[in-house]
Symmetry: C2
Subunit: 208 residues, 2 copies
DNA sequence: GTATATTGTGAATAGTGAATCACAATTCAA
DNA sequence: TTGAATTGTGATTCACTATTCACAATATAC
């Protein structure tokens, strides 16, 4: 049966989402053009009407993820004005995104692994760079408002931010025995927070 | 020319190291049995005298990395007795290992990506679990000696520890503009430290 | 020194999966 | 309605790679 002709914008979305689903269910190695085509409901060769090749599809998936990450930043900007609260909310949102998007880590790592030529890293570099920049901006806001120590480079804090989520998501995906990423974050956030805040702001006596 | 007959123990090491070199230079996708064989100086089919297949080779490489990680733990045990100092030294050692072993991230991620069958994750789970356990033990030591807050789960601290290194190594490998992993650690460690230590121990007035 | 186990070789197999292309169908504009 | 651009199809090509196997050479034990 012949697939109904669909304009390329829509098809591109369908293809990218189909690719992401495949990666989510079977890992990156299970991603094949044939499989994508089947899910979309077209024949493999038709994919090349909409994407140059497999790598272009992977890039599109990465862009999907990037837009979701940045959407989280926008969301927390609307949910809070306090920098520390924004960071906390973003942390939760980010973890949720990474954990509930099984393809997330695979796609990130795929861009890493397929890196024969450094040119392919540029997409990943852009994506991570954009996100880090947004996080760093929030940190700088906190520094200007006196909530966050000014002697901490904002990028350092941003990278630490990522570091709170990435290993947790990995361990979770590995089905590490009894590891719950949300619990980890609940415990790790106060530690990170205490490291960030001005000493004078560190509350005294909220223990015992 | 015929390769000199070599016993399998030595060959296994040669093969694992050749595989690691290949991954380091050309990424995981460039790893082929033919390439490994060429580096070792034997014919591809001879590899199967020493390893069951390609995945077994990858597992061997992972074991190489694990032993190096655990060796770092042993080393810092000899270099310091203070828990916090041990953590600091291990952090530096760990970053150095990850950064100066270009294959490190690729191998870790490879076990992730190739994860069609969850059984292949067990090796990675073991490796990460062992290391986390060692780090957690140091943390617990610090807690018993009163240097580290006791209300922080030791595993949480251990995962955060990993999180200080992993993203930094990734960014470095991506050749992120002007990102230096050592500098990152230099800036991130005090933040982590302040989050870990007892409030009463937090020194007053080492600013200004 | 001889037998046996171990290791290396070359060729063949076999499956895979991405990409190309000529052609057909269908959408859309004019 | 007509014609051009767009999209889908099927077949084919192409390169690549892991793996197996019968056989040869070499180390090792006795």
């Amino acid at each position: 049966m012949r697939a109904t002709k669909t304009n390329t914008d829509l098809r591109q979305e369908q293809i990218a989402e189909a690719a992401m689903e495949m990666i989510a269910s079977g890992g990156l190695s299970s991603l094949s053009m044939a499989g994508i085509a089947e899910r979309v409901g077209i024949v493999p060769s038709a994919l090349y009407r909409h994407y140059r090749g497999k790598e272009a599809v992977l890039d599109a998936v990465l862009n999907l993820l990037r837009s979701r990450m940045l959407a989280n930043v926008e969301a927390v900007r609307g949910e809070a004005t306090d920098a520390l609260e924004r960071l906390r909310l973003l942390l939760i949102r980010h973890l949720t995104l990474v954990v509930e998007t099984p393809a997330f880590l695979h796609v990130i790592f795929a861009h890493f692994a397929q890196a024969d030529h450094q040119e392919r890293w540029s997409a990943l570099r852009d994506t991570m760079g954009s996100y880090l920049q947004e996080v760093a901006l929030i940190v700088e806001q906190g520094q200007q408002e006196g909530d966050i120590r000014s002697d901490i480079p904002s990028r350092t804090a941003a990278v630490m931010f990522i570091g709170l989520v990435l290993p947790a998501a990995m361990l979770h995906r590995l089905s590490m025995d009894g590891f719950d990423p949300k619990s980890h974050l609940t415990a790790a956030w106060p530690v990170f927070l205490q490291g960030l805040v001005q000493r004078s702001e560190a509350p005294l006596g909220d223990e015992t």
